[in-house]
Amino acid sequence: MADIKKVATREAYGEALAEFGAVYDNLVVLDADLSKSTKTDTFKKKFPERHINCGIAEGNMMSVAAGLATTGKVVFASSFAMFAAGRAFEQVRNSIGYPHLNVKIGATHAGLSVGEDGATHQCCEDIGIMRTIPGMVIINPADAIEARAAVEAAIKYDGPVYLRFGRLAVPTINDNPGYHFEIGRGIELAPGKDVTIIATGLMVPQALEAKKMLAESGIDARIVNIHTIKPIDRVIIKKAAAETGAIVTAEEHNIIGGLGSAVCEVVVEECPVPVVRMGVEDTFGKSGTATAVLEYFGLTAENIAQKAKKAISLKK
């Protein structure tokens, strides 16, 4: 896919903040000494007075964000996913989640594709953690176009949103005039009748690649992009289960607690069919280049295609 433009979702996040900062004068951005990495510095360059560096103190940052939100500010609080969802979980839960305050958590460097920094910084638990907070919206955009749309939707939505962005430049797949983003609404990217690959984040382009591989084996795979993990699109999942009879989930997250779990919950309740989860198999990451790490842990199109065949073999 060398001819496709590649942009990291964190870059799009920073640019979206700067763009919408001009529209919404009550938009305030907090960061915890990572603004050059989270890309909130793009916003800072345009609106320095509304960019607040909280220093390396993520817990305080989340509760400060809550306090700001009580006064009518739309607050984005940014750090790496590990520290936003991990270290500051309890502040997110009690200061932001419980009072359902208008805070958007811009969590960058999610998943294994952090790369060289290794396991301490490769957060593959954040979706699972955030998903258990009542009322928390979780969005994991697949590319720069979706990241921008997610930021806009989060601003317009009144309540807490967890936005998950990546460090690695990823192919822009949604650059088409028909693209429409709506919180909680999955997107069918390609039709198919034999199996459905439900992917999120940077696994979406891999799912599209897997579709091509499967086609060579005569398998017609449907591709669904789930950008909103919570509230999850029950309709599109139920339809996929009923019409294709087998599902593979693909995510850059632990297979426990993330997209795979969320899809299984819907499938067993609405329309039981085999589901095979592809993702990080309950293990910690390792240092390496982002692409080497993703390959090492099997987050590849080839593996999706294999899992799709397994799911089909499990059909009754």
């Binding site: 220093g55 817990g59 305080n60 989340m62 809550a66 700001l68 009690n94 200061s95 419980y98």
Partner: protein
């Protein structure tokens, strides 16, 4: 403070104590000790200091109050009810299923509660966020927050302290209820936060040390805090846990346990005697 004001506030403080105990007794659960130790400052804040309107709890430019030591909700609820935010009858439904007064303050359910708190250390950060918001918007409202002395053991308090000093939040006034006791005993034995005054000074705060049961000193402290520009202020108040009820005073076991019927009757008797004394002054 003039004699009439002092008498009025003293009576309110005793009534806050009475209703706080009523709440905890009705629920057979809750935190009487720390509620009684902040009753005087709660009376002062809600009936003298803060620019608020009970008829319009969400007034945009109101002063804000954050009970960072959220477990002392009985004192907050009593002050709010006495101020007219909701009927005083709600007090007896404290901590009961289906009623609004949760064990710890819930801003979504209770008129007058500006921030949901209960997990220690988070309230002061939220208060700092509110203070920052006022600065960003060029508003002149002030933010008040009360912390426990045991709460100072939470690292987040010091993250918030750095933050408030860094952003020169002189519209933030914190109050540390230094009653010296936490659930497990004496704060100096469990995990000493001392020297409290020196710590806040080192963090760049204006520090005022007072007797937390002296209304003149409370008023003086809050008035002085307003004159300090460029840094946040903290009032470190020496207080008595369980203040006003003889058998609860200075006893850690009254941190989080409810009086039985007999103890409650005795406490009410003592507080009524105090009220009678104040009325004839």
């Amino acid at each position: 403070m003039d004699a009439a004001s002092k008498k009025q506030l003293s009576i309110i403080a005793v009534n806050i104590r009475k209703h706080a105990l009523e709440a905890v007794h009705s629920a057979k659960s809750g935190h009487p000790g720390g509620s009684l130790s902040i009753s005087d400052v709660m009376a002062y804040l809600y009936f003298k200091e803060m620019r608020i309107d009970a008829k319009n709890p969400k007034l945009e430019d109101r002063d804000r109050f954050v009970l960072s030591k959220g477990h002392c909700a009985p004192a907050l609820y009593s002050a709010l009810a006495l101020k007219g935010y909701f009927p005083i009858e709600e007090i007896k439904n404290f901590r009961k299923i289906g009623h609004m007064l949760q064990g710890h303050p819930d801003m979504k359910g209770v008129p007058g509660v500006d921030m949901s708190t209960g997990s220690l250390g988070q309230g002061i950060s939220a208060a700092a966020g509110m203070a920052l918001s006022a600065k960003l918007s060029g508003k002149d409202y002030r933010i008040y927050t009360i912390l426990g002395d045991g709460e100072l053991e939470e690292g987040q308090v010091w993250e918030a302290s750095m933050f408030a000093a860094q952003y020169k939040l002189d519209n933030l006034c914190a109050y540390v209820d230094n009653n010296g006791l936490q659930i497990d005993g004496n704060i100096a034995d469990v995990m000493s936060p001392y020297p409290i005054v020196d710590k806040f000074k080192a963090f760049g705060w204006n520090v005022i040390e007072i007797n937390g049961h002296n209304l003149d000193e409370i008023e003086m402290a809050y008035s002085q805090a307003k004159t300090i520009k460029g840094k946040p202020s903290v009032i470190v108040a020496h207080s008595i846990k369980g203040k006003g009820v003889s058998f609860m005073e200075n006893r850690a076991e009254w941190h989080g346990s409810a009086p039985n019927d007999e103890q409650y009757a005795q406490a009410v008797k003592e507080l009524d005697a105090e009220l009678a004394k104040l009325e004839v002054q």
